[in-house]
């Protein structure tokens, strides 16, 4: 009998989510904050890190490239919270500046690949036929190539620079978004209200963007939140390999790359940026999991 009650509750939630679509999201977010404090804390952590990135010049005790050759490779101290690197640059300040690039590279390419994925998925699901076949085969192709290796190829072709890194990372994440949007489009396309809209002559683009897209938004929020950490990881991996961000720009991955030669003597040069990456990725993962449970409980991992 309790399974029955559970089912009824799930059913009710389902109904509620269908009735109050727009208001639903805000209510669900509130409920998530109450029931899943870890996700809420993660959201706060992310907000703090973003603020720190924005106000890096204000917070940082030293300049981004301010060298102090006398105080090279210092251990963490009151003066240099995280020590200094081989050119005497303050690691904490460098990481603050580096966070700007690392965070932007997490968010911006994810937004771009989300957009590409939405358009591709909508088109594939709505038009079907050969459009669907071509788009989904291209998505298959993209998914078959390991993402880091695909990004490496793009970097080879375009040359290593920060802008090209954005392009490389934007190209890799869209296929999984396209798959989700496509399957949702397919199911919504059959629904009565889309049939009704079509019967009174609403144009296909309007149906896609006004009627189908809003229904995908909960999934898209989740996908976006989970895409950001993987973009951050890809960026740091590429920079770590020396084919991502180039000096004098700094990103956390690049700082690890430069600190690597001092791993056995000054391990904090590697450890600090690694931990920073881990915290951000962890926070986004927690938030993404929480959002998925709150907004989209039926979504597959």
């Amino acid at each position: 009998m309790f399974e029955h009650e559970d089912k009824n509750m799930a059913l009710n939630e389902d109904l509620q989510s269908q009735i109050g679509e727009r208001d639903g999201i805000r209510d669900k977010l509130k409920r998530m904050c109450r029931e899943n404090p870890l996700a809420a804390v993660s959201a706060v952590v992310i907000a703090i890190i973003i603020l720190m990135a924005i106000f890096a010049p204000v917070i940082a005790p030293y300049g981004e490239a301010e060298q102090d050759l006398i105080n090279r490779l210092q251990a963490p101290s009151a003066e240099h919270w995280l020590g200094t690197d081989e050119l005497g640059r303050d690691l904490f300040s460098r990481m603050l500046y580096g966070s700007r690039l690392s965070i932007t590279i997490g968010i911006l390419p994810s937004l771009i690949s989300l957009t590409i994925g939405v358009v591709a998925g909508l088109a594939a699901g709505y038009f079907g036929g050969w459009v669907d076949y071509v788009i989904m085969r291209v998505a298959d192709v993209m998914l078959s190539i390991p993402s880091l290796i695909l990004a490496m190829v793009v970097m080879y072709t375009l040359g290593t620079s920060t802008v090209n890194l954005f392009i490389a990372l934007s190209m890799t994440g869209w296929s999984s978004v396209a798959r989700v949007v496509r399957s949702q489009t397919l199911s919504i396309k059959q629904s009565e209200y889309v049939e009704a809209a079509r019967s009174i002559g609403v144009g296909r683009w309007k149906i896609m963007f006004r009627h189908i897209l809003p229904n995908c938004i909960p999934s898209l929020i989740v996908l976006f939140t989970l895409n950001v950490p993987s973009a951050i990881l890809s960026e740091s991996s590429l920079s770590f390999l020396g084919i991502g961000v180039k000096v004098p720009a700094a990103s956390w991955g690049l700082i690890v790359n430069q600190g690597r030669q001092f791993l056995f003597t000054q391990p904090w040069l590697c450890l600090a940026p690694c931990v920073a990456i881990m915290i951000v990725v962890l926070a986004f993962n927690f938030l993404g999991d929480g959002l998925r449970d709150a907004l989209d409980p039926y979504m597959q991992r």
Partner: protein
């Protein structure tokens, strides 16, 4: 088997797409690749001769057809830098990557399954929370961080294991753990949630009503069912594992496929890069087919369509 044959045939357009995509991407670089290759210090006659030799004066479509033809008989071109057949270089590197990946998979599956099962059995108690916390940490750690940490602690500080690849089994342990760490976290989380779900199924009640003890129920009845989604996920993980191999091979100086790709980029050695990408993609596709096959072995319902 019909179903499986269909799946194999279905991968052909994807494979061709991969070759085409990589081919085009590596050739939209402006300028004659021969000039890039030789630098500026060669006379026009040498450049022309090489261009002709490598077929770069032909239309791109013809170049593509020639490349595919070559690839089918195992000829992936010649390295710019080392003037050796790419296939030969890949074949040299491949055993290292395969050994690394296999060890990593064994580690990830072993650790992930065991912790996932324990966490599911001890659902919501301290052990469960601890395992799941650690696994989320595992999923969130960049591979280079795991690699550097392991190298620092177990090779440098404790001196238990070799710092870099030396051709011995022991020297592959740290790289394999570093590479498998993320996957182990995902496998553990997936196993846990899938097992908890399966344990709610009616047939688990049947098994217990029969008189099976808890351990036998989990091993005999729940595990096989709960492995289905884990197998699917593992196939997807193969791709990210090959991405990760690029990093671990770099940190631990393993002369595998990933290292080949990294050096190819630094040397601007296009044929080698093209070959390695193609190869890793073939491995991913083969892994997906293998997962499909495993799935049908585990789940008789899939075989219905035969």
């Amino acid at each position: 088997m019909k179903y499986f044959l269909k799946r194999v045939i279905g991968t052909i357009p994807v494979l061709l797409g991969v070759v085409l995509l990589i081919f085009v991407m590596l050739r939209i670089i402006p300028g004659n690749p021969v000039v890039i290759l030789l630098g500026e210090h060669y006379d026009q006659a040498t450049i022309d001769r090489l261009t002709d030799l490598m077929g770069y004066d032909q239309p791109i479509l013809l170049q593509f057809v020639n490349y595919v033809k070559g690839a089918l008989v195992g000829d992936l071109g010649v390295s710019y830098k080392y003037s050796r057949p790419v296939t030969e270089m890949i074949m040299e590197a491949l055993p290292y990557t395969i050994r690394l990946a296999l060890m990593a998979v064994v580690f990830a599956w072993g650790l992930g399954l065991i912790t996932g099962i324990i966490a599911a059995v001890k659902k919501n108690n301290f052990i469960d929370r601890m395992f799941m916390g650690v696994s989320l940490l595992g999923v969130s750690m960049p591979i280079f961080m795991t690699s550097l940490l392991l190298q620092y602690i177990f090779a440098f500080k404790l001196g238990w294991l070799p710092m870099t690849e030396e051709g011995t089994f022991a020297s592959m342990i740290l790289p394999a753990i570093a590479l498998g760490w993320n996957s182990a976290g995902s496998v553990a989380r997936m196993t846990r949630s899938s097992l908890i779900e399966v344990m709610q199924a009616d047939y688990i009640d049947t098994a217990r009503a029969k008189g099976l003890r808890k351990g036998a129920v989990i091993i005999g009845h729940a595990l096989k069912n709960s492995l289905l989604p884990v197998v699917t996920m593992m196939a997807l993980q193969l791709s990210s594992m090959l991405s990760g191999a690029v990093i671990t091979e770099s940190v631990f100086a393993i002369p595998g496929i990933g290292r080949l790709a990294t050096t190819a980029i630094n040397n601007r050695d296009m044929p080698v890069l093209q070959g390695t990408v193609l190869f890793t993609t073939v491995i991913v596709i083969a892994g997906n087919l293998l997962a499909d096959f495993l799935y049908s072995v585990l789940d008789p319902r899939i075989r219905k369509g035969d």
